[in-house]
């Protein structure tokens, strides 16, 4: 469902050109859970930004669900993000002025979903992350783990087929990190494709497929078998 061929991203400053990604190739199938690892500055975030259409790329082709992303207008990319992709950020990125309910509501509003339907979805998502009772709270009244769970609820509310997580546990302690990770695994089991950027090898190992980026290029792909479930079988079942 996601296909990147020879993707490159070049940053140009006055003096130097930097390749953040160079001839990057990746194919992701529906229902996969991929962990992207790599050292600091290797291009992990650039990859994520391009995958999420947050940033344009300078070369190659990228298609998402058969749509050639490179040819889309800014608005079309926004709509595509809104409909197909859910984001989970390291810093949670909840909107501080809005309460939990309103935060989860944001993507639904952009999609133009009717109020009653919005309410149903928000409540179900908050239920799923275990924060339904706190809908009226403001983000700063919650702990980091709780905030990240709200962010996940926000990502899920749009019922995306594709979840992009950027160091989702980076700001959390290990207990909370584990909870969040379990939530992601549950979401993956429910059918969503997940790409997770992380620098934590422990966390990466829990993902069925690992992609390592070194110096802007895919270096290594390792397929882990987890709990006896073959990734390929999972896809077949989906």
């Amino acid at each position: 469902m996601l296909s990147m061929q020879n993707i490159s991203k070049m940053y140009q400053t006055e003096m130097v050109q930097t390749h953040a990604l160079k001839d990057f190739n990746l194919e992701v199938d529906e229902g996969e859970f991929i962990a992207v690892t790599g050292p600091s500055g290797s291009g992990k975030t650039t990859f994520l930004n391009i995958a999420g259409m947050l940033e344009p790329f300078t070369g190659g082709t990228y298609s998402l669900d058969g749509v050639d992303v490179g040819s889309l207008s800014d608005n079309a990319r926004a709509d595509l993000r809104n409909q197909k992709i859910g984001f989970i950020f390291q810093g949670f990125n909840l909107i501080p002025d809005l309460n939990l309910y309103e935060n989860v509501e944001v993507p639904l509003r952009y999609r133009g979903i009717k109020s009653a339907e919005r309410k149903r979805r928000i409540e179900s998502c908050l239920e799923q992350v275990g924060l339904a009772s706190r809908a009226k709270h403001l983000p700063q009244q919650l702990s980091g783990g709780q905030q990240q769970r709200v962010a996940i609820a926000r990502a899920l509310a749009g019922e995306p087929r594709f979840l992009l997580a950027d160091e989702p546990t980076g700001n959390l302690d290990s207990l909370m990190a584990r909870q969040v990770m379990e939530l992601l695994e549950q979401i993956n089991r429910d059918g969503a494709t997940i790409i997770m950027v992380t620098h934590d090898p422990e966390l990466a190992r829990r993902a069925p497929r690992n992609v390592q980026i070194v110096d802007g290029q895919m270096a290594d792909i390792t397929l882990y078998q987890r709990n006896g479930v073959e990734p390929m079988q999972k896809i077949a079942g989906a």
């Binding site: 999420g52 608005n75 809104n82 990125n93 950027d166 980076g170």
Partner: protein, 401 residues
């Protein structure tokens, strides 16, 4: 628009900044609507026709120190001299010159004293049979003075029996009837209205006798004289330059002063109104700019404060137009609240001004007009920073601080 609720909630949670903007817009509306109204009021006054071809007219004063002079004869000589200047249409001696702020006014009655009857105030001037042509005013009824009408007096030992009056005054003294041919009284001396002029302005255009003028055909020479000269507009300046020499050549036992065009005299009389007008215009322009800059700056700040938030919104599917709309709506909400307060404030200020000063009642159309204008300006002030916000890259969302 269900969209408004979360914007409103967000506003409530960061109220101080929004409150300041609201306050600012409210006061701006209150000031601008009142100032605009005062400006309109003054403009109407300043642009009002006087009935005179001001740029053809000029006047000057003659102060004589000649011993045992025959002033009446001197006036005749001077008038003849002035009329002989090429380019001069006519010239006449007047005891009061319109638009200069210096003259006489009195109350005239329909019955002689000591009887009590209807009376009306008017600015009056004494002149001769050249008065009407010199002033360039339009006679709409009756006739002009003839040479026979003019009375030559000393210390007012003889009085004229006819007068030409302005329509405004004729209508005040003789409402609902034709004033032409009617008699009014200067104390107990009768004067018949032989002519009515469409419009004439008093020496004090802002007073309550502004348009109420009476002219008597009387020459009562004294040491201090005033002459009005009417010349072709293009030649006026050149003629004015030779006046002093010409008059002193005729008789050097005197001093010529106040040589001035009537348009200049009017401008001088109205200087404080012009000043008020200019000050208010500057005030409005600067005030609106400051308010617009304030909105601009505050939005800019709000945007930089919310960079991450905007990036996140973009990442989770907001179009650029959604971001612009967000800021426009946010601003409009604050602005509307401010405008409501501002309209109330404008009316309160207007009441205060009316209670303490001689200002007419505020026309509410000015409040509405100002409110719309302020709304427009505030939207314009937001649109630039909002577009900048829309251009924030969604990749900001993944950037850690």
């Amino acid at each position: 628009m269900s969209e408004l609720k979360p914007i409103f909630n967000a506003l409530l949670r960061s109220k101080a900044g929004a409150l300041m903007l609201l306050f600012q817009i409210a006061i701006t509306t209150a000031i601008v609507s009142n100032a605009a109204f005062i400006i309109y009021d003054r403009m109407t006054y300043l642009n009002k026709e006087t009935g005179y071809p001001e740029e053809e007219l000029f006047y000057f004063r003659v102060t004589s120190f000649e011993e045992n002079a025959d002033y009446n004869q001197q006036i005749e000589l001077d008038e003849a001299l002035l009329r002989n200047i090429p380019g001069v249409i006519n010239a006449a001696n007047f005891t009061a010159v319109p638009l200069t702020g210096s003259g006489s006014s009195s109350s005239f009655s329909v019955v002689p004293e000591p009887e009590e009857g209807r009376s009306a105030n008017a600015a009056y001037s004494m002149s001769d049979h050249n008065a009407i042509e010199t002033l360039g005013v339009k006679l709409i009824a009756g006739r002009d003075f003839t040479e026979e009408d003019v009375v030559f007096a000393q210390n007012y030992d003889k009085l004229p029996t006819v007068a030409i009056v302005s329509k405004a005054w004729a209508e005040e003294l003789f409402p609902d009837e034709d004033a032409l041919g009617k008699v009014f009284y200067v104390r107990n001396a009768p004067a018949k209205i032989i002519g009515i002029v469409e419009q004439m302005t008093a020496p004090w255009p802002s007073s309550n006798v502004a348009e109420k003028v009476v002219i008597f055909p009387l020459i009562n020479g004294t040491a201090r004289q005033k002459f009005i000269v009417r010349a072709h507009a293009g030649e006026r300046a050149a003629i004015m330059r030779q006046i002093e020499d010409l008059m002193l050549q005729e008789n050097n036992q005197r001093v010529i002063t106040s040589l001035q065009g009537l348009d200049e005299a009017k401008a001088e009389y109205n200087a404080s109104d012009t000043l008020m007008l200019r000050m208010l215009v500057v005030l409005i322009v600067v005030l609106v700019s400051v308010t617009a800059l304030g909105i601009f700056g505050l939005t800019l700040f709000n945007i930089s404060k919310r960079t991450k938030q905007i990036g996140t919104r973009r990442a989770i599917g907001a179009r650029k137009s959604d971001i612009i709309r967000y800021f426009l709506l946010e601003n409009t909400m604050v602005c509307l609240a401010g405008l409501v307060l501002g309209c109330i404030g404008a009316i309160l200020v207007a009441h205060q001004l009316m209670a303490h000063y001689s200002l007419p009642a505020l026309d509410y159309a000015y409040v509405v007009g100002t409110a719309l204008f302020v709304l427009l300006i505030s939207l314009l002030a937001v649109i630039v920073p909002a577009r900048r916000a829309a251009n924030i890259s969604p990749s900001i969302a993944t950037r850690s601080i």
